[in-house]
């Protein structure tokens, strides 16, 4: 089982969700996040005082998948979320030791 963590532009959330639904993915977690890679922030001014805001709003998607789904999901996310500009985001993959469904104690891939 693999965990897919994708950090994407906030404006791309709906498109990515639609793309994932189209390939049969039904479960995900969506979080509000702030951050940056190489993307520059912007300045805001309040009564003459300047503030550099470099922690930019992003969306973080988390999915745990059976290994055979991973590449299709990665392609779906990347192709939909890409604009070609700095700030598009990143996808990270990591191994999951166990998954448990709370409702009925299903374990392993059955729980996904």
């Amino acid at each position: 089982m693999t965990k897919v963590e994708a950090i994407i532009q906030t404006s791309k959330l709906e498109a990515v969700k639609d793309a994932l639904r189209e390939i049969g993915i039904e479960g995900m977690t969506v979080l509000d996040a702030r951050g940056h890679g190489r993307q520059k922030g912007h300045t805001e001014v309040y009564r003459g005082r300047e503030y550099t805001v470099d922690l930019l709003p992003k969306i973080k998607l988390e999915l745990v998948l059976a290994d055979d789904m991973v590449e299709r999901v990665v392609q779906a996310i990347a192709n939909t979320a890409r604009t070609g500009k700095i700030g598009d985001g990143k996808i990270f993959l990591s191994r999951i030791d166990e998954a448990i469904r709370i409702r009925n104690d299903d374990r392993g891939e059955r729980a996904l």
Binding site: V45, R47, G48, R49, V53
Partner: protein, 467 residues
């Protein structure tokens, strides 16, 4: 013989009877006229009183929620409740003090500098008018209207020490400040025999229609003293401390603008043409100041901000406060425009250059705007709007510089200097006293945790944690 006597009596009676009838008619005419005059006076009183009670409500609304929201939105989320509480607590505290002795110290007869204790516990303050102050409304209306001013003035100061002052210290500070600074200043400008009173025998008659010096200069300058004495917030100016909700500040500012009609037009103490004049001047001053501040900001920064717009409005309202019932509409626009630009400069440039942490710009807007407005009143005051000065025959004399009274600018300056002096000296003494007894500033931990939790055991918003 009897017939002769009877005829004589009849003749006598018919001679005098019409006269008797006439004097009875004369009596009832006089009575009718007196009755009508009384009813006319009652109607006048009714009109004036309804506006004055409305104005009193409007001015209270300026403090709560106007100022509470305006300031509350400007601080960080962890301090929003504490900041609002600073205004709200005063609504309660100052009222009690006012009822006990505050009104007496301001408006009772005393010396040139402070009132006496004749009206202790509002003794003698009933429903009959006090002719010296407001001949057409019950004295209690006048008293409660003035109370709302006494409430908002100290509340303005809280902008300077936001996010770092102990609540207990603030309470003690405000009690002492209202007695030592506000009451004497209000008495000098508005009280019977006050040193600066333009209509009731002041040695240096200053024109301050609704409190440019009494309210804004005193609070604004005291704010600066507090900011300097307490020192900067932890992390200022390196750390970013933007307003947590310009939305709240916006709502507060609009409530202030509308409420200010009670503040200025209500200072006409009646519902006649002078109230209209003050109303129009107030609105024009606010509007022009928005243009001034936003214009200056647009030129300097490339974008006009919403925070700038609402700050501009407040600056204009502050500056027009002393002038509202003395100037014509066009000068009101000019006063507003100048205030918008001047206060923008004070807040965006001067504050940064000198580095003091007047957190919510109480000095930058109220202290400087009030000073500017008080001086410009001396320039633009016009007897056609308000014949405040009269000669021995009762003819109006010129009020301001442009009309031909150059001396008025001197009197305005004296009032401004007294306000600055009283504010500085009074505030320093009180700060020292409170610091020695209660301690002014919260601990570092409490400041980092936020005043809502450390001073009040509450949080303003529970949005992130589901319950």
């Amino acid at each position: 013989m009897r017939r002769f006597a009877a005829t004589g009596l009849l003749l006598l009676f018919s001679f005098f009877a019409p006269l008797l009838a006439q004097s009875q008619t004369a009596d009832s005419s006089t009575a009718r006229i007196a009755q009508l005059e009384q009813r006319l006076a009652d109607a006048q009183s009714s009109a004036d009183n309804s506006w004055m009670l409305t104005s009193s409500a409007l001015v209270l609304m300026m403090t709560g929620p106007g100022l509470a929201l305006f300031y509350g939105g400007l601080v960080r989320k962890k301090n929003v409740l504490a900041t609002m509480m600073q205004s709200f607590a005063l609504m309660a505290l100052i009222t009690v003090l006012w009822a006990f002795f505050g009104y007496s110290l301001c408006f009772g007869e005393g010396s040139s500098f402070v009132g006496g204790l004749h009206h202790l516990f509002l003794h003698g303050v009933g429903l009959q008018p006090e002719p010296a102050y407001s001949p057409t409304i019950p004295q209690q209306t006048f008293m409660v209207y003035q109370l709302m001013f006494a409430i908002i003035t100290p509340a303005l100061i809280s902008g300077a020490f936001a996010e770092r002052m102990k609540f207990s210290a603030m309470v003690l500070f405000m009690v002492l400040w209202s007695i030592l600074v506000y009451d004497p200043m209000a008495h000098m400008v508005w009280g019977k025999g006050g040193f600066l009173n333009a209509s009731l025998g002041g040695q240096f008659p200053a024109l301050d229609f609704a409190g440019g010096t009494v309210v804004h200069v005193t609070s604004g300058v005291s704010a600066l003293v507090c900011a300097l004495y307490l020192g900067k917030r932890l992390g200022y100016p390196r750390e970013a401390m933007p307003p947590h909700s310009v939305v709240l500040s916006f709502i507060g500012a609009c409530l202030l603008w509308v409420g200010w009609f009670g503040f200025n037009a209500g200072s006409a103490l009646g519902s006649g043409p002078l109230a209209t004049s003050a109303f129009v001047a107030t609105h024009f001053g606010a509007a022009a100041a928005v243009v001034g501040w936003c214009g200056a900001e647009w030129l300097r920064n490339g974008k006009p901000s919403v925070l700038g717009g609402i700050s501009g409005a407040v600056a204009g309202l502050v500056a027009i406060t002393p002038a509202a019932g003395f100037v014509k509409p066009m000068p009101a626009l000019l006063i507003g425009l100048l205030a918008g630009v001047f206060c923008y400069f004070m807040v965006a440039v001067v504050k940064a250059r000198f580095g003091y942490d007047d957190s919510l710009d109480a000095f930058g807007v109220h202290g400087t705007g009030g000073t500017l407005g008080a001086l410009l009143t001396g320039v633009f005051a016009c007897s056609a709007v308000n014949p405040i000065f009269k000669d021995a025959q009762g003819n109006p004399l010129p009020s301001g510089l442009i009309e031909g009274n150059a001396r008025q600018l001197l009197n305005q300056s004296i009032a401004v200097v007294i306000a600055w002096g009283l504010a500085i000296v009074g505030t320093l003494i009180i700060l020292k006293l409170v610091d020695l007894t209660v301690g002014l500033r919260v601990s570092e931990d409490a400041e980092i945790q936020g005043l809502d939790l450390s001073q009040h055991g509450e949080e303003g918003y529970f949005w992130e944690v589901s319950t």
